[in-house]
Symmetry: none
Subunit: 193 residues, 4 copies
Amino acid sequence: MVETVKPRRRQARGERRMAQLLNAAEEVFAADGFNAATTNAIAAAAGVSPGTLYQFFPNKGSMAAALADRYVDVLAEVHDPEAKVVGVPLDDVINRMVDPAIEIAEQHRAFEAMFWAQPCDKLRDSVTENVDRTIATRVPELDPSRRRLIATVTVKIFGALLPSILAASGRERAEMTGELKRVLRAYLLDVSD
Amino acid sequence: MVETVKPRRRQARGERRMAQLLNAAEEVFAADGFNAATTNAIAAAAGVSPGTLYQFFPNKGSMAAALADRYVDVLAEVHDPEAKVVGVPLDDVINRMVDPAIEIAEQHRAFEAMFWAQPCDKLRDSVTENVDRTIATRVPELDPSRRRLIATVTVKIFGALLPSILAASGRERAEMTGELKRVLRAYLLDVSD
Amino acid sequence: MVETVKPRRRQARGERRMAQLLNAAEEVFAADGFNAATTNAIAAAAGVSPGTLYQFFPNKGSMAAALADRYVDVLAEVHDPEAKVVGVPLDDVINRMVDPAIEIAEQHRAFEAMFWAQPCDKLRDSVTENVDRTIATRVPELDPSRRRLIATVTVKIFGALLPSILAASGRERAEMTGELKRVLRAYLLDVSD
Amino acid sequence: MVETVKPRRRQARGERRMAQLLNAAEEVFAADGFNAATTNAIAAAAGVSPGTLYQFFPNKGSMAAALADRYVDVLAEVHDPEAKVVGVPLDDVINRMVDPAIEIAEQHRAFEAMFWAQPCDKLRDSVTENVDRTIATRVPELDPSRRRLIATVTVKIFGALLPSILAASGRERAEMTGELKRVLRAYLLDVSD
DNA sequence: GATGAATGAGAGTTCATTCAT
DNA sequence: CATGAATGAACTCTCATTCAT
């Protein structure tokens, strides 16, 4: 009994540390970008020593990957697999894809940086997978590999416009977001013929 | 007249070196990206000492900027301002925008890297400007600021898909290129209503 | 209490290193002067890598400043604020100002170099302050700003002759030192009328 | 005849170049100090190429030395060897030593920098020599080596206070200059007993 | 003479990572 | 687990000087 309690405590502490470190990494990655971010800066932001950081993450990239995982989870939480996709205006589908993603990107400040960092393919892949599935449901007759291509392109477009959206606010942001949706709607309409 | 030749000779050597250095920079930027590229590596690739590099360029960014300038020039050379834009299928207009850009990107190996590097806004701006002008000719009634937005989005989409296009070849590349054109056509059609 | 010892240990190693680095810096600054001294040379003289140096000092100037602080401390230790300054021959006062300073300069080989280096104003200021206070005690009726001027001039004279004194030895040094004291006595006598 | 004219012209051009280069060196040395001054900067300031500079001066130090020579000459021009030194108030003698020197230092902007630069011992030596001779005339019974010592000390004091004098202006400068003269008068009075 | 390109060792500084404590 | 000292190669950039033209 004692043996089981102690490990739990340890694990709990460990996870707290990891979360703490990831939060710090999020700040630093968001502020400086992946390349310019410094493991020392992350450790400092987390209030621990560099050595401690390396007890939880083998290298800088793994922190980015872990952050990406976190974002994948958040996206999954928000994603409603039961959501109607067929017999619904395309605009609604796009809204349900784009809006939560933007909101998450805004709330999780390193989302944008992680979206492009090399060690975070997972994140892009996951988003792509979601889009792919949505398309699959809505346009089942589409060839899977073609569908994959379309999903990939869709995600790249999203990634390309996201920075401008996040950098803007108010009216400007609405405009940029509108433009993103316009592009996607036009493309997806064209493609689903 | 004779006097002008002598100075030219000296400048000639210098300009040869500059070209040589820019070529080397192109290689290194293409291989490593702007951030990871080192001035020493560029100098070495050019077969000169680091000091020589700095006789022609005050810093790393200026090499990127010069390279960007070069690409702007190449784009300008290829661009035919007399080309018919009105009363012509949109597909043709898009082909004439996209195909030369891709070809240039392929021939000038750092084009992609420069397209995103911070010291090279000029390049993106120049491409955006070209697109803007083309739209202006074709859809004159469009509000200029809205037009600018559309051009910007168009260029971002191009930039987002370019890496995949360049990374691919043969059938795959044709597919990616086709997809890029499809996106742009759908978007621009939608927008010019 | 036990807890405080452990952190101390870590700091102890660090402070040992800092002392070691400052000693090395002292050697190198003394030998080459502040400008010509290199951080790599200092690190090498301390037997550590350049990176280690920068864990304790953010830049070259800060090492000089730290050295200057050290000398300020040594001067403070030697300075007896209770020492009689009134009702005592001026020669004694001057001896008590000059002799310890020269001795410190001799024992701490970079004293002279630090005395003039820009990042070490503190050192000159501190010495000036001491002189100022001594004059204040001995000639209380003197206008403070005038007193400051006199102290400044006194210190500059000291700094100007110090190199010759340190460079000499034996009889020559005694002569130079005597000359310094003669100047100061004559000046301070003149001034306190 | 032709042969004698051409060399003259060449020499004339050469001396013009040297003067031009020295003027440039004066600016740069004055602005940056001897160490921080750059031969390239000097050449640029003179409007010539680095290679040209090295056709007239073998290295950076030699430019400083040449400048020092120039200042020695200027001092000599100003110096009146017939000036009465005996049977005249000491204040007058000091004025005639100090005032022209300060004026020269002000007019020739690198005087101060050259006064301390290592390749310019000549300048200090020359000034020292002048002072030595003046003392010799006024106090002939003084032991020559002691006289040399006094002259040296006098010059060092001058050099130590000169920067403060030049940096100041108006009332402040008058104060500093006054202080310099006070020191020297007190010292020389004491010494000539 | 004059040019300016060329040199190259070396400056100060950084940082992902390791390791003794 | 945590610490923070330690590493060291690598980075960007400089500059007195030389040399081909």
